[in-house]
Symmetry: D3
Subunit: 237 residues, 6 copies
């Protein structure tokens, strides 16, 4: 089970995916934002947690029989560790659902942090009511077996065009979902938090009419000095 | 004109498209949910009614002249029976509109139940104000004739990848639109209503921490017995 | 710098893109509505202003070095004239952002009217907070250089499948974005305003049960006469 | 049954779809070339004939039963008049076949001129052996009922994004398929034949190094005069 | 290692994918033909063999280091058993290659039966020269690591929208690729061979002018009797 | 006018796009192969030359008038320098043609090296007859102005998702088109030629049964030593 320190989790809740993709890009990681994966509701809470993965392959009629122990999806809902995000590789296929409200309700009840699929979620009203943050390509009411066969848990997958390894840290906001390798997450979170603070300063400056030159990207000493003063005035430095 | 009993209509208003696609799938109907067809507003009322259909083909300059009796679309708005849903085959082409706010206002005033197209609707603000539930692929402001020629009414069509026959029952919720054959709609509605009640029970159980094992899918007698007790406590059984 | 009279701007704020595409279509301009370009927030203010354009081409590693004078995007934010709309040709590629909240904040602070891209915007929460109307294909958190190289400003471009020349008038509402040639904008706005007034009249008539026949499209004298009376009753004629 | 004079047919066999779309465009018909519809073999003979149409809608399990009189597709193969082209509206869906080699063999044996679908054809080797020109989106081996329900014959349809009315003249070459309204086909063919002759002249001139200026598009008298001489030298004028 | 009897292999080489999808569909297997997967050359030999699978996930810069034992793709080329078909899950992503001519040459030299990917192959001229049948979405010259990370061998995968389990029988012809479950392949091959013989008979009949009625689909005794006579005349019955 | 040494041109004619993308990738250039751009004929000669560019934007009815000096496309055909490749940015839109056989014939007559568009070419039979190598997305018969407005020549463009600057070296083979920055083309060509020689050696080795281990990728001294011997035996070292 992947670890995520309280400090890093707290930091990640405060930073946006745009800041995180910027930090990751500077470290050479260019493809960490899922394409065509959206929040099911614009106002859902932010999502942070290590990835617990599930892999679907296309359904096939001769493999559709009941599985001893019950459906693999249900096992995922029962075993995804608290604080984790269930990430589903649905091959970008939203013709049938990846999960629905009862499954998501169980994740929520067990303390999981969210669910992400590059396919579709069903009964998004019901999911929204559970309070679990959900991300998908589009709503999809048809039951999962029409298109999907759940094959295995906790293997590396692709989701929204991004590689996701179990334990990667998943962060979602109103714009979408970013993936952070676990071994650099503390540093990434710290850098992103600092960057977010600077952005807050810069936004205020810009709002009151300051030019972007020197301010963004930062060039010269003026912006740095003003930022230090801004932090001091707020007891942040 | 298709019939829909008051009891069935009342039941269908209470059940979600995810429940209905589940019931239909168990009856062997696997492709009844329209793909890439969304509500124009997330909070619009649910939509239930028999289908009244209109078929578009691609526009052609030599067929663009005025039609005696006025535009066929207008005829659709004047003749779609009260309680019915106008379903438009726009070949998934949203480059120009399938209908706009005046047409939808007329449907509403005449007591129709909604409009569905796999193309686009124009002036969605105006449509939303009429109160008519609308479903489409995406907003599309350009006037219809730029891409579409309305050919005929009340023939079988495709919409969102699903076959729609006049009189099929159309149900829409926040996730999208499902099609139900009229000859099984009573049984489907009844089964869906029962299923919805069980889901309500199961959601409560899950929310208070019960495992999905035995509960969903139902296996063994425990969940059934608890469900009966739950219904009894609410005066439902 | 393009001119837009106060009267025309005032008129355009009141008319929808569906009315404008109708007026333009009657003048033979059939392809003026951007495809797959949406408002970042459903409730953002309408957007009206002359186009100031920026052209992206695909990024290439050997052209990625710093530019003397700073990033071209920043120059766009500093030089887009007040009242104008920055329109970005991102080749429909939303894998990386076209702009973010600081850039949009600067546009807002400088009195610009909005931003439009057929790619993606990043930190849409931040952009929404600035109050600048924004239109894009979908949210895109990754930094711009991952996919885009900003090449030049104020050249004719394509955006959402529509040609945009610097100085064209750009209008956005809840359904999307329309482009109006500057040399006909006054006449188009006037015609659209008159058309909007008639639509308002017709909507009321339809809401109280009047048939569309004769009313829309207008045929015969009845509707015209009633419209004149309706206007007189409101002190509009 | 549509008529096509021997002279016009003979002319159309000699002219390419690029010449025909040019002639049609000058007459205001801008959307007559099917998009994403290709010849099944690069070297198949050209195809000319009036359209006989078949319309598919999406398959549905409750409509899949046998049809009295046999499959509608077979009826199409038996009734498509000699000299005609069978044009199939498959909604651009190539997941299952629109027709196969036996059906196409029957069309060939009955003297039909070709088959066109915006879906897929199966057993293209077998079709090629029959000698019938075939056009489709891509090969598709699965049997038709997996995705398609053949609904009706001889109605207006869309195919490859183009409206096709029964009796329209269909012409196919190595690049694709163009649709010509029957009421102008004689004039279109005549103009296209003349245009083709000029192209032949111009190609020779260009091949020997002549500039395009004045030659294409034709401006001034030089090219016209040389063309007259060229025709005279070949006994064509 | 999967088994495939000589008789079944011999039968499968003679039957087309259209016949096989027909047989599979009658057994309830509706989704066994890969979508958008084509032969690299129209005239390559048919391909038959059990599947040996390789799974790609999206590339990620922090996982790009050298692998002890060399690239996993190379291991696939060295270990895919003779007679088998290497089937690659490239998530339908053809931006970078799944394999090239040296890898395919090694497969050929080791007696493998072919290669299939739903991504792209590079140096298709070189692959064609090796004589190994290859199937892909489109040519793709860029080296594999630009988009793909080879994760594992011999697991169930999706390819062209079809589930492929190690040991499934893969058959390719000029139209594409079909997947046959190993446990029914003998019966499927036998049925397909009989069906192919009937098709050959029917094609001859059709070519000489016989109607499809009664012949295809077979209804009544006439066609059966004639088929028996046809076979007898050829010493086949 | 860009320079390309005879030696480098000669080398580039001998190497494939797969080798070149490999060399470019090792130098950090990951996105130099055009996506969805194919040769118009499988057997056309290879294409090598510096890029001369043309940029299209979407057509607009109010910009459609005749241009003093004639169409810009024609100017491109008359001014593209001998030995150069005309590369057209058609925004990936193949609904109308980028060029046809007369234009391509003029390029050929003037000694140009080829034409590339990410849209479509018309009259591909005619183009093939001129002998000019052509690359496009798919055949497109409709005349260019239906979708395209030619805006300017010799500016940086995007084509097939790749940035192309005037003077970049363009190489096309049976798989597609690669772009090489002019300032490194000599070194790239040299490295690619050496790599191609090694590939030739390795292909022979593989064909006679040698394992890929050690050979590809090269590890240890055995393969190097054998390669030297192989070259010596052919008088190449």
């Amino acid at each position: 089970m992947a670890e995520l320190s309280a400090a890093t989790r707290e930091a990640l809740v405060k930073v946006g995916t745009s800041t995180l993709t910027g930090v990751l890009s500077r470290r050479g990681l260019k493809n960490m934002f899922m394409q065509r994966v959206w929040p099911i509701r614009p106002d859902q809470p932010r999502m942070v947690g290590p990835a617990y993965t599930m892999r679907f392959i296309p359904a096939r009629e001769d493999k559709a029989g009941a599985r001893p122990g019950g459906p693999l999806q249900r096992q995922a809902m029962e075993e995804c560790p608290p604080g984790h995000v269930l990430v589903v590789d649905a091959r970008g296929d939203a013709r049938a659902a990846s999960a629905g409200d009862l499954y998501c309700g169980r994740l929520k009840a067990r303390g999981c942090a969210g669910i992400v699929t590059d396919g579709g979620l069903r009964d998004t009203d019901g999911i929204a009511k559970t309070g679990l943050p959900g991300y998908h390509q589009r709503p999809s009411s048809p039951p999962s077996p029409i298109a999907h066969h759940p094959l295995e848990l906790e293997v590396p997958i692709g989701c929204g065009g991004v590689a996701v390894y179990p334990g990667d840290i998943i962060v979602g906001d109103g714009d979408g979902v970013v993936v952070i390798p676990a071994d650099i997450v503390d540093a990434v979170a710290e850098e992103a938090l600092a960057s977010t603070l600077y952005d807050e300063f810069a936004e205020e400056e810009v709002a009151r009419g300051r030019s972007l030159v020197g301010l963004f990207p930062v060039v010269g000493d003026d912006a740095k000095r003003d930022f230090e003063a801004w932090k001091k005035a707020r007891g942040l430095a």
